[in-house]
Amino acid sequence: MSEETVIEAAGLTKTYGEAVAVDHISFKVGRGEIFGLLGPNGAGKTTTILMLLGLTEISSGEVRVLGHNPAREPLSVKRVVGYLPDTVGFYDHLTAADNLHYTARLIGFTKDVREKKIAEALDRVGLAEQAEKRVGTFSRGMRQRLGLAEILMKGAQIAILDEPTTGLDPHATSELLGIIRAFKSEGVSVLLSSHMLERVQSVCDRVALFSGGKIALMGTVPELGRQVLGGGYVVDIEADGAGLADRLALIPGVSGVERTGIGKLRLHSDRDVRPEAAAEVVAMQGRLKYLGVQEASLEAIYTRYFESMAQERSGVKDGERHAA
């Protein structure tokens, strides 16, 4: 993947009167990267997205989308960016294909191009059979897929998806994430906001954690894990062999051994001790059934981060009691 930057925001700010919805945020998204925006309700994710698209005025700061300024050259930006709004809607009285035809005409595709691209796009999201059905009869997941078909048809270089997985069942979610991964494999950059942390973790290259209009944390999930959860590693091991726990505890760097089940142990350490642990089991002529290091989960990072924020805040209020 090249290092080329497709979205660049610097000091981006949006105020509604007195209220600050987005507060001096800066980030970059590279080509073919999947970038996740996370954060509680009202943190400013949607507002950020709308500013990138030139759909809402920017109060201050700079944005470049493929080198274009969304405020000055909205058409150039909107030509290369596909957008799936948080609650995507279509004209219920028109068929799926007709809805896309309307968009394609707005984009300016000629009839032949239109026919071909729409058929392809609907096929890729699995709506080929439903092309001639009225969208009024569509389920939420089908609408969502139709929204992705629109972005595919557009041939967008950047896909901006606002909470694409909300309201979808697990199967539909996996399908949708599959389509998002396909975007990436074609060199399309994806910016997505979501509340489904586990799912986001599985597709995103990097995430930005929004909090009160600011980006509190940004980076890959393991990076964030180290920042928020501290440097500790957790290694799970399943093996038989008497006295294994005692021997594992002697490995340099291991701070604790925990028994989590019959023949199951959990090591807490300050580094990845999998090789040493495996060597110990083998040395004891035990049988190693499982050995794995726990990835920092986004869920844990998210929860821990906002817990510590809340603690800090209440700590400011009544520091006495908390200290005691």
Partner: protein, 323 residues
């Protein structure tokens, strides 16, 4: 700050989509039947009257539009009453429906400006009304030819066409108002309610209230003909606040070549005749002269339509895309 590209990119696409939505929509079909049946009904009763009364009238054909059976409104009155209703019916949810269907942000993320969407919606609605009015106009002319048994003269056709154009402008005013309400009110029900309220006010209440509103501005004593004319002008000025009155005034002059001033009908109702130097009362005016008489009113109506659209446009530009 110069904007990149044309503000009207996509205008044609939006207009065509709107047009086809209106033409196939149930709402428009119902309204079309309502208008056509009512209008043709009054024209038909009017024809019975015309045949009895005025066989030697030189502008017999124009009477089709202005005469009606005993106790019934004329064709132009029906238009003045129903055209706003059709325009409101088309326009009251033009923008709010995009919001409630959640299509607005998706459409505006395509490479078009908001200008194109709004103007396309206005044009689509207006063309729908134009199609309906032209069809109706042709039906009336056809009905006239069949029942009266004679074709209209060129002067009559020209005047009838002028009336058609003015009716379209009149529709444009109400469509502009409905569009504005569809932007300002997020709920289509509220927009429809307010628009219909305004329509009722202007068509039913204002004609009754206008003289009272004007009362403080007219002198009590009328001594000279000049006083009388001033008084009438003031009354008219107040009445003209209602687009319906303005419309009635314009078509009243356009469809009757003997009317030389918009004050003439009011004077006639007082049993007076307006005498102008060098003119014979009752002699027909050429069309150009008639047009000149009501030119300010026509311009005012066009300006009204444009103003309403511009207010809507500015409001829309400043609105947030999301609900």
């Amino acid at each position: 700050m110069r904007r990149e590209g044309s503000a009207f990119a996509g205008l044609g696409v939006v207009t065509l989509k709107e047009l086809s939505d209106h033409m196939t929509g149930m709402r428009m079909i119902v309204m079309e039947w309502l208008v056509v049946l009512l209008a043709l009904g009054v024209v038909y009763t009017g024809i019975q009257q015309i045949r009895q009364v005025s066989a030697e009238d030189p502008f017999l054909f124009l009477r089709l539009f202005t005469r009606a059976g005993e106790g019934l409104p004329s064709f132009v009155s029906v238009l003045s009453f129903l055209v706003p209703l059709v325009a409101i019916g088309i326009g009251f949810d033009l923008v709010s429906s995009e919001r409630s269907q959640r299509t607005l942000s998706r459409i505006l993320s395509q490479p078009i400006y908001r200008d194109a969407l709004l103007f396309g919606k206005y044009l689509g609605g207006l063309i729908t009304i134009i199609i309906m009015l032209v069809a109706l106009w042709l039906l009336v002319i056809g009905l006239g030819i069949l029942t009266l048994g004679l074709p209209p003269g060129p002067e009559e056709v020209a005047r009838a066409l002028a009336m058609l154009v003015v009716t379209i402008v009149y529709a444009g005013v109400w469509l502009g108002l409905a569009l504005l309400f569809s932007i300002v009110f997020r709920s289509p029900a509220t927009a429809a309610f307010v628009a219909l309220g305004l329509w009722l006010f202007f068509t039913v209440l204002w004609p009754l209230l206008a003289p009272y509103a004007a009362a403080p501005f007219v002198s009590e004593t009328v001594q000279t003909p000049g006083d009388l004319l001033t008084q009438i002008s003031v009354l008219q000025a107040f009445a003209r606040v209602s687009p319906g009155s303005l419309f009635g005034e314009i078509v009243g002059v356009l469809l009757d070549p003997t009317v030389r001033s918009t004050q003439q009908p009011l004077l006639a109702s007082l049993g007076l005749v307006l005498l102008q130097p060098g003119s014979i009362p009752g002699a027909p005016l050429p069309l150009v002269q008639s047009l000149l008489v009501v030119w300010p009113q026509i311009v005012a109506m066009i300006a009204g339509a444009i103003l309403l659209f511009v207010i809507g446009y500015v409001t829309f530009q400043r609105q947030e895309v999301r609900a």
